[in-house]
């Protein structure tokens, strides 16, 4: 009984942890949409900001990866 309860908690926790990935999705979408909006206003400046774009995506994405990692740890390591 107790073991099943722990298992239940693990799976529910892993599912909840995955909500964080949605946050990362919103973040990455925000970064790219603003980049595209800016690039369409001033296409000549767009190329120079490519590196900044990727850095922004990487920072936003890392947090989603963290939550994915928490989910994986709950599923397989705890």
């Amino acid at each position: 009984m107790e073991g099943e309860l722990i298992l239940l908690g693990k799976y529910i926790g892993a599912g909840i942890a995955c909500i964080g990935m949605g946050g990362a999705a919103i973040g990455v979408g925000n970064v790219v949409s603003n980049y595209i909006a800016g690039a369409l206003r001033n296409p000549s400046a767009a190329g120079g900001q490519m590196a900044t774009l990727f850095i922004g995506i990487a920072f936003a994405e890392a947090l989603g990866i963290f939550s994915f990692l928490v989910a994986l740890l709950l599923m397989f390591a705890v």
Binding site: A51, F54, I55, F66, F68, L69, F76
Partner: protein, 252 residues
């Protein structure tokens, strides 16, 4: 990680994490630090591929480059421009280091995408070594170059004086979280992509010959993974450049 079987009532068996198990190459159970494992094999292959492309490929030094030589020159020029743009002119001293990191991670990622191969960069142990090496290098460079001036990285002159202590705490924390996020970003991305492919492969295994949709999905995810492999290597290298710029010019 061998007992992690998600077994549904329909006989659906998915082992998404089994592909990441480190096994000794020549049998045996115990893994010492010198034991050749599948990780060692695929890392060595990555290094051999890099040598093949960059050393043997450019050996001819032709004025009109051959195909391999122009690929190598493109790669060199790409990384050189990235270091120059992001880390600045004085960051170019560290160009060989960043080039090594970028090319090694790129080849490790792409070799990991070959079916039945092993994605070495999906292990946090591998990426953590790379990230901690970057962290230690950057910290030492910053202290040697600037002495106590390096601490200006945490004491932001542009902010109002009342806010500075609080910002300093945040900056210190974010500085020490750098190697963690730097390594987990790469490993997590690679691991997630490979696990997704394995999950779809599990669906295809259940459906048998009629598994058109899972196979199409695998193809699509595979294409995405090729993009991710490149972007993650790029991001790792460019973040190294950003950290290097911070170390060389801590005051802004």
């Amino acid at each position: 990680m061998s007992e992690n079987v998600a077994e549904g009532p329909s006989g659906l068996q998915i082992h998404p994490m089994d592909q990441f198990v480190v096994k000794p190459l020549f049998g045996g159970e115990h893994i010492n630090f010198y034991t050749p494992t599948n990780v060692t094999l695929w890392m060595a292959l990555a290094v051999l591929c890099v040598i093949g492309l960059l050393v043997l490929g450019t050996r001819g030094r032709a004025i009109i480059p051959s195909r391999v030589q122009s690929v190598a020159e493109l790669l060199y020029g790409f990384v050189y421009k990235m270091v120059e743009d992001v880390a600045g002119k004085d960051g170019l001293k560290f160009f060989p280091y960043i080039m090594t990191l970028f090319v090694f991670i790129l080849f490790a990622n792409f070799l990991g995408l070959i079916p039945m191969s092993f994605a070495t960069t999906s292990h946090i142990a591998v990426t953590a070594v790379l990230a901690v090496a970057v962290f230690v290098t950057v910290t030492i460079v910053g202290i040697v170059k600037n002495g106590f001036g390096f601490l200006e990285l945490f004491w932001i002159k542009a902010a109002p004086l009342a806010l500075r202590p609080m910002l300093a705490v945040i900056e210190v924390i974010s500085y020490f979280v750098r190697p963690v996020s730097h390594s987990i970003r790469l490993a997590g991305n690679m691991m997630a992509g490979h696990a997704v492919i394995k999950v779809f492969a599990g669906f295809a295994g259940v459906l048998g010959l009629g598994a058109v949709a899972p196979i199409l999905a695998i193809t699509a995810v595979y294409a995405l993974e090729m993009l991710v492999s490149f972007i993650q290597a790029y991001v790792f290298a460019i973040l190294t450049c950003v950290y290097l710029r911070d170390a060389l010019h801590p005051s802004h």
